[in-house]
C-alpha cells in the first residue's frame, strides 16, 4: 500500500542488527520474517519520522528539498539584495558596495550571476562584467563586491543571484515561531482544559455505574447492560444536531454562552460513557466474588465497598480507560468544533491545526511543527502507559 520500496536507514538500530546477525545463522524463513518486520516498522514510522525531521529543519530548506535529503548539504539557487546604495564607499575613483550574501558561516557559494536569466553564469572567483561598466564578484565564502564607475543610485540594493551549497540546518526555530505567534500555546492550554475533566468525570460516573451493573442486585440489570452495548456503536454525528439545538436553546434562555467548557465536558462525558461502562464492567464483574462478599460480611455497605475495595482494585482498568478517553478527547476535532467557539479562548489544538491547514496550506514549517506540538502529549501518554492501554483494549474485546 505505501509505495516505499527500500528501507532508508534501517541498519543502525541496535535491535535490528542484533536480530539480523543471529538470524543469519537460522533458516532463511526466519530471516525473511525479520526483514518483513523491519520493512513494516519502517513503513509505519516513516511518515511520522518525516514530519518530525521536517519540523526541525530550516524553513527555507524544508520548502525546497525532501526531508530525506536533509542530512546532506543542499545546493540552492538563491537571490539576495546587496546592501543599499547609502552604504557605498568611494575607493580609487570607483564606487564600491561590499557585504556578504548570507550570515551563514558554513555556506559555500559555487556560482553567481546578476540577472535572473543567467543566475549561475559566473564561477566563484570570476569577475562579472555588468552593464555600464559595473562589476560583481562573489567569493566562495559569500563575500561580494560590487563596483561601479558611477555612484549607485536608488533606495534598494542590487539583486544578486548565487548558487550555494548549504549545509543541513536544524533547529527549534519553527517551534519557537509556532509557539509564540501561531496561538498554538494558547490552544495547548485549551486542549488540556477540555481533556482533563472530560477524562476524569466519565471515569468516576462510569465506575459507579459499572459497579452497580456488576454487583448490586437490581431489576432490569441485563436490559441496561444490553442498552449500553447498543449505545457503544451509536455514531457521534447522530447526536450533534439535537444537542447543538439544545445547547443553543439553553444558551438563549438563560442568557449564557452556548459554547462553553462545561458544555463540552458534559458532551465528552456522554459520548465516552458507553465505552467506559463497558470496559470497567468487564473488569469489575470479574473481580473475585469472595472479596466483595467478605467486605459485605465485614459490615461495609455498597458505597464503602466501592470506594474502599473496588476503586483501588480496578486501577488497571481505570487507567486504561483514562488513556483511551484522554487520547480520544485530545485528538477529537468534531465535538470540539461543534461545542466550542472559535475564539482564542476556546480553540483547541486540533481545531487550530485544521484552521492552519486552511490558511497556511503550503507553510510546511508551521504545519509540521504545530502538528508535532499537538502530537507530543498523546505520544508521551501512549509510550509511557502503553501497557495499560493494551490491557484495556484486550479486556474490551477478547474473552
Amino acid at each position: 500500500m505505501v509505495t516505499v520500496t527500500k528501507p532508508l536507514s534501517s541498519t543502525d538500530s541496535p535491535y535490528q542488527s542484533r536480530g539480523l546477525l543471529s538470524t543469519l545463522r537460522r533458516s532463511p524463513l526466519t530471516l525473511l520474517t525479520h526483514l518483513s518486520v523491519i520493512v513494516i516498522v519502517v513503513m509505519w514510522t516513516l511518515p511520522t519520522a518525516g514530519l518530525l525531521i521536517s519540523s526541525l529543519r530550516d524553513k527555507e530548506q524544508l520548502a525546497v528539498s525532501g526531508w530525506w535529503t536533509s542530512l546532506s548539504p543542499s545546493t540552492q539557487r538563491l537571490m539576495v539584495r546587496s546592501v543599499p546604495p547609502d552604504a557605498q564607499l568611494e575607493e580609487g575613483g570607483r564606487y564600491v558596495l561590499r557585504g556578504k550574501v548570507s550570515d551563514d558561516q558554513a555556506l559555500q557559494v559555487l556560482a553567481f550571476g546578476w540577472s535572473s536569466r543567467e543566475p549561475a553564469a559566473y564561477a566563484v572567483g570570476d569577475v562579472a562584467q555588468m552593464r555600464k561598466g559595473q562589476t560583481l564578484s562573489i567569493s566562495s565564502n559569500g563575500e561580494y563586491e560590487l563596483s561601479s564607475p558611477e555612484p549607485f543610485s536608488g533606495a534598494r540594493g542590487k539583486r544578486l543571484f548565487y548558487t550555494a551549497k548549504i549545509p543541513p540546518r536544524f533547529g527549534l526555530d519553527n517551534y519557537r515561531e509556532v509557539l509564540t505567534t501561531g496561538g498554538i500555546g494558547q490552544s495547548f492550554i485549551n486542549s488540556l482544559t477540555v481533556t482533563i475533566p472530560a477524562t476524569v468525570i466519565p471515569i468516576l460516573i462510569a465506575a459507579f455505574a459499572a459497579y452497580a451493573l456488576s454487583w448490586m442486585a437490581m431489576p432490569g440489570r441485563g436490559l441496561l447492560i444490553a442498552l449500553i452495548v447498543g449505545l457503544l456503536v451509536v455514531p457521534l454525528q447522530m447526536s450533534l444536531i439535537p444537542l447543538l439545538r439544545m445547547y443553543n436553546q439553553i444558551g438563549s434562555t438563560f442568557g449564557v454562552d452556548a459554547k462553553s467548557y462545561l458544555g463540552i465536558w458534559l458532551a465528552h462525558t456522554g459520548f465516552g460513557l458507553p465505552l467506559a461502562i463497558y470496559l470497567l464492567r468487564n473488569y469489575i464483574a470479574n473481580l473475585p466474588k469472595e472479596i466483595i462478599e467478605s467486605a459485605r460480611v465485614d459490615g461495609a455497605n455498597d458505597f464503602e465497598i466501592f470506594t474502599r475495595i473496588i476503586l483501588p482494585l480496578s486501577f488497571p482498568a481505570l487507567a486504561s480507560f483514562a488513556i483511551f478517553q484522554f487520547l480520544w478527547v485530545w485528538n477529537d476535532l468534531l465535538v470540539a468544533t461543534v461545542f466550542l467557539g472559535t475564539g482564542e479562548q476556546q480553540m483547541v489544538l486540533t481545531a487550530r491545526l485544521r484552521e492552519m491547514l486552511g490558511s497556511y496550506g503550503g507553510n510546511w514549517e508551521v504545519l509540521t511543527a504545530s502538528a508535532f506540538v499537538s502530537m507530543a502529549v498523546p505520544l508521551l501518554v501512549f509510550f509511557s502507559l502503553q501497557r495499560y492501554l493494551v490491557r484495556g483494549l484486550l479486556s474490551g474485546s477478547v474473552k
Partner: protein, 384 residues
Amino acid sequence: MTGVKLSNIRKSYARNEVLHGIDLEIELGEFVVFVGPSGCGKSTLLRMIAGLESISDGEMYIEGALVNHIPASMRGTAMVFQTYALYPHMTVYDNMAFAMRIAKESKEVIDEKVHQAAELLQLTEYLGRLPKALSGGQRQRVAIGRAIVRSPKVFLFDEPLSNLDAALRVQTRIEIANLKENMPGTTMIYVTHDQVEAMTLADRIVVLSAGKVEQFGSPLELYTNPANLFVARFIGSPAMNILPVVLEQSGPHSLIRFTSGKTLSVPVASELMEEGAELQLGIRSEDLLLSDKLNALLSGEVQFVESLGEMTLIHVKCKESDSIIVAKLVGIIELHKGQTVHLSLMADKVHLFNTEGHSLRYLDQQSCDAGQQAEQPDLVTDNV
C-alpha cells in the same frame, strides 16, 4: 440457648430448589461441620447463614433472634473463604482492621484487637505486608484473624484448608482446633470435603445430600451408627461394604441369610420387619477378618492388595456381592492377586438397612429414645 437455629430452610434459584427444608439446632459455642458430596448445598446453606444469600422459605435464628431479613453486615457473622478473599491492596493490618474501621471503632480498640489476633495467629511480624507477600498458610491465618477481631457470634468457614498442601493442612487444622478452645462462646460452622477434618474438628457433623440433612450427630455416632446407607457409605474410608441379604428371622436379634445360603445372627432388632424381607448388610472394612474356609461367611478372589505397612487392604470379588469387598487387616499380610480368601465378620458391628436405606439399628434407637423420652447420655468422647 441455641447458637443457630434453622427451621425448614429452603432455597431456590429461579424455579430450581437446591435446599429442601433444612432443620438444625446448633448449640451455642458448638463446632459443627457440614459435609456432603459436591453440589449438595453446603456452601449455599453457609452463605445463607452469613446473609450472603436470601432465604427462600423457612426461619433462621442466630442466638435467638430471627435473622431472615437482617443483612449480612448486621448478623454478627464472620466468614473465612476457601480463596481467603483478602483485600489485595491492603496490608495484613488493614485487612484485619477493615471491619472495625467500617464500624467506626476507635483507633486504640482497633490497634489492640488487631495485635491480639495477630499474636494468637503468629502474624505479628507480617502486619505490614501485603497479602501477595505471604504464603498460603499465612494468608489463611490472616483470613481467620480478620474474622476473629470482629468477635463474631457465628464463625463460618467454607473449605478453608482446601487450597493448602497436606502438611500445612494438618498444622492449620490444629490451629483451628486451638481457636475453638480460645473462643468457647462462639458458634462455628465449617464446610469441608475432608473427612479427617470433619471427624477431628467437629462436635457434631451435618451430613447433607441433595439439599437435605441425612444425619446430624457426633462424629463417632455417624461412624458407628449411621442413619442410612448414604451416611454409611459417605463417612469412613474405605467406604462401608454393602452386601444383599435376606431376613430369615426377625426379633431383637435378627437372623440373616447371605446369597450363598450361610446365615448369621446379628444383634440388630428387626421386630417390625417381615421375615423374608430383602435387606442390605453393611460392614466396615476393619470389621472383616480372615478366617478358615469352614467358618467363613464370605469368600472370593483377591483382586488387588494395598500394603500400607501397619495394615493391608485387600479388595475381594465375592460371590455374595456384586461389588468388590474391601477388608482392612492389621499388619502385613502376604496375599496376592488371584488367591482365594475367606472372610468372616464381627456380628456386633453389622449394620442392616431396609429397602428405603434406613438403618434398622438407628430406627430402633430412635424409637427407644422417643418411647423413653429420656435423655441419652452424651456419646461424645473427648478423645478426638
